[in-house]
Symmetry: C2
Subunit: 486 residues, 2 copies
């Protein structure tokens, strides 16, 4: 009984500290956000620091004060990339809107089990409505489309790829062994990972060539499908990208769709829109995505260009019944039981890989409701402007080559003068990136395009100014010229 | 430029509101927690209410005040089961410790990309240390064990099952088509879902009989493996449960391990410890889990009996290299590159299905640090006491049959008198559960055991009192007697 008393005392102490601590965390967060420009962009723990942090992982027997643990946590978290820094341009940055702090807190405070309608009817109704609206934006048929919120693009792609496998190849290994899948040289690695999870080997995946705009080459696609059919294989799935990670290129989805549906039987078209699909909400550029309507399935991340914290993506299906056919389990739940009622009051555990799942969609809902579509649209359009600013500024300068034009927030370029080998210029560009990171001027990482090292900027931060982008270009140019002169 | 000004004004207004709103959400949360006993346990939106909520999913063009959206959100969230209600006993309840509100808020405020070391070295060092400590608790070999935090048991099981597939059957469809998997009649549905994702058909899964204690029958297991081998199939994986959802039974893992490893080649043993593995942290019952040390892979949920909010589970592997062999992608990352250094500074995107992932482990770390192991151990032990209290009270009463003894927080029972058919008693027990839910006395759902409807109580709430549990039993008994008398 003493122990019980002790536990309840501890609980009471914690409860009484929660509101002020929440405010204090929020205060620090807002203060940090206001001085984000001067924060370090990239901090990596040294070997020794990492060893020290690892040693702090194990809990002690006794309780500790919240304040003390918070301070320790702040030290640990400082060893990270500030993904929401206006001058972080690597991978796909995560310029979360500060508002997400409240949406996340709200969800944590309610913590519904959003796997079943019984447990989470309110949040599930919002998620249902939100998914339908997003599917409608993409141009998918309102009467059949559906989907669910998942932890991100990898899971959303997995859901799409699995429904494709199950609808097109059935359950037999013999069929599946003959299936072939068409991706491009620029397709995201989560697709090959997803296919591997689903049982496909690399030998079944065809990497279709890209043209000079890093878009899938449809002639190569058609030719390769034809060859595979002649070899007795079963082409069943084309994965198109809407916003590749390297260059933000959009594959020719309409042509791909035509090719896919001209086959007998028609091929499935999955669109990886993890990054690009958010442009559907832009005010000036949504037309770029008019061909998304051809997707049989698609992925879309809210934790990229919809400004959410990590762990929020969407899988959308042209025909929501396919989700049930791939993911519904339980003896009491048979395929025959699928009727329209299930989609009005869905058990999301029958729609995807997870049984227990947080109501991730409520976080996106909260942000969209407060910000409104006008603001969100402008925030997205601003990314176009930032990348175009980089391209425009670079074109005014000698020595810079635009390797991939500004497209949907991403631009790739390379400094290349005379008197050095291409390999030496590769090295120089990598050094330019590294020096600017070390000096905290910007974190524009490098990637490889057509075998050459290029500097890549993904600039989608709504708070980054055009003047700030010009300054970033100036500093890259300065460093490049200094190095080139050596 | 006007629009830009408008956006920045909106941002400023939101920023200035964040700390007070965070405090206000936390205040409501604490107030609700203090009166949790009197809150409705189960609230389900009616058809009309759900339609209304769905219609509120779509955002408007204009921004709205945070306060207004919060109020609307509270209304929506009220349509849920309070999984953290002390008298919610269905599924596995989620008696989150209130402290998790702060851990979740903290993580949201930092939002590291915990897929790679480069982006998240501090949090990744903690996750690495925490995973190792948890694996050590389970008895897995410290020099080889590893794992990662995932969104929950379904994903953790998927990770374990995939490593089993890849290690035991290789990449060829012919081999995989011959693979057979052994689960029990009480195995959780996430296992069959996971196997389906991985490409296995139901025909490859053997449901081994359970004995009267709902544990896998090892004679049936051995016999079935033998039959499959004689039929030219390739038994490769046994899934044992540590805490089945229905009865919290633990399969005879040691015997299963002996059988598995006596085969040529030896079979893989995956343990589903999503619910039960947390007992490793109990002060008085950890010995029940001494056989976890035999697992080749295991799942473990922190959002069940470690009191975290949803979206936090662990996949643990006896040999962490197997994770890389199943999940590492990228041309630059080959299998040959696997050396010990990678495990000191891991890229978790090479350990599991997700590329982008939140640093889920930091939430568990925060709770464990503040509470300390003494408190957590007592919180877990308390669940044993609560279920035992139910069993003890029921045994004093006429008409109640204990169908499954109190085991690790779960007890199943049934009211059955004379003068009715078993089917009628089935119906009566379901009604007892339903009436107690409607009257907000308790939410003890029903399940099927040996074909009969039983009432099931999973009682793991650290704040539920023994006296409260006795009252729950009294009210169930009262309702049952009234119905039986009709």
């Amino acid at each position: 009984m003493d122990n019980r008393r002790g536990y309840l005392d501890l609980l009471e102490e914690i409860l009484s500290n929660i509101p002020s601590t929440a405010q204090s965390i929020a205060n620090s967060f807002v203060a940090e956000h206001r001085r984000l420009e001067s924060c370090p962009i990239v901090t990596i723990a040294s070997y020794d620091e990492a060893a020290l942090i690892r040693s702090q992982a194990k809990p002690q027997m006794d309780s500790r004060s919240i304040k003390e643990v918070l301070e320790q946590a702040n030290g640990i978290f400082s060893n990270r990339i500030f993904n929401n820094h206006p001058r972080f341009f690597g991978f796909i940055p995560s310029p979360t809107h500060p508002l997400t702090l409240l949406g996340d807190l709200l969800l944590a405070s309610k913590n519904p089990h959003a796997g079943s309608w019984f447990q989470s009817s309110g949040p599930s109704a919002i998620e249902t409505g939100l998914i339908r609206w997003l599917a409608e934006l993409a141009g998918l048929p309102a009467d059949t489309a559906g989907g669910l919120f998942v932890s991100g693009g990898s899971m959303a792609n997995l859901v799409g790829l699995q429904t494709a496998r199950d609808q097109m190849l059935g359950e037999e290994w013999e069929q599946r062994a003959r299936g072939t899948i068409y991706v491009s040289q620029q397709t995201h690695s989560s697709i090959s990972k997803g296919l591997r999870i689903l049982g496909f080997s690399n030998k079944q995946v065809r990497k279709i060539k890209c043209d000079e705009n890093f878009q899938m080459d449809c002639s190569d696609l058609e030719r390769t499908i034809e060859q595979d059919k002649e070899a007795g294989l079963m082409p069943f799935l084309i994965v198109a990208s809407c916003g590749t990670t390297n260059t933000s290129s959009i594959d020719p989805i309409s042509n791909i769709h035509t090719i896919a549906k001209a086959q007998v039987p028609p091929l499935w078209v999955h669109v990886d829109g993890a990054f690009g699909a958010s442009v559907l909400l832009s005010k000036s550029h949504a037309h770029l995505l008019k061909d998304l309507k051809h997707a049989d399935s698609m992925s879309w991340d809210a934790h990229k260009w919809l400004f959410q914290t990590y762990g929020c993506g969407m899988a959308l299906l042209r025909d929501r019944r396919h989700l049930l056919q791939s993911f519904a389990t339980g003896a009491e739940y048979t395929r025959d039981a699928v009727d329209s009622g299930d989609f009005e009051s869905p058990n999301f555990w029958n729609f995807g890989p997870e049984l227990t799942r947080p109501a991730r969609g409520m976080r996106l809902w909260f942000s969209l409701q407060v910000l409104g579509l006008d603001a969100v649209g402008e925030m997205i359009d601003h990314g176009f402007l930032l990348a175009e600013t980089v391209e425009g500024e670079l074109r005014k300068l000698d020595g810079w080559k635009i390797v991939s034009n500004a497209k949907m927030g991403i631009v790739c370029f390379r400094y290349e003068g005379t008197g050095k080998s291409v390999e030496e210029w590769d090295e120089l560009n990598a050094k330019v990136s590294g020096i600017c990171i070390r000096e905290n001027k910007s974190a524009a990482l490098t990637t490889k395009l057509d075998g050459r090292t290029v500097i890549r900027i993904c600039a989608i931060h709504p708070e980054m100014s055009v003047e700030g982008m010009k300054e970033v270009v100036r500093s890259l140019d300065e460093v490049a010229r200094e190095l080139a002169a050596i």
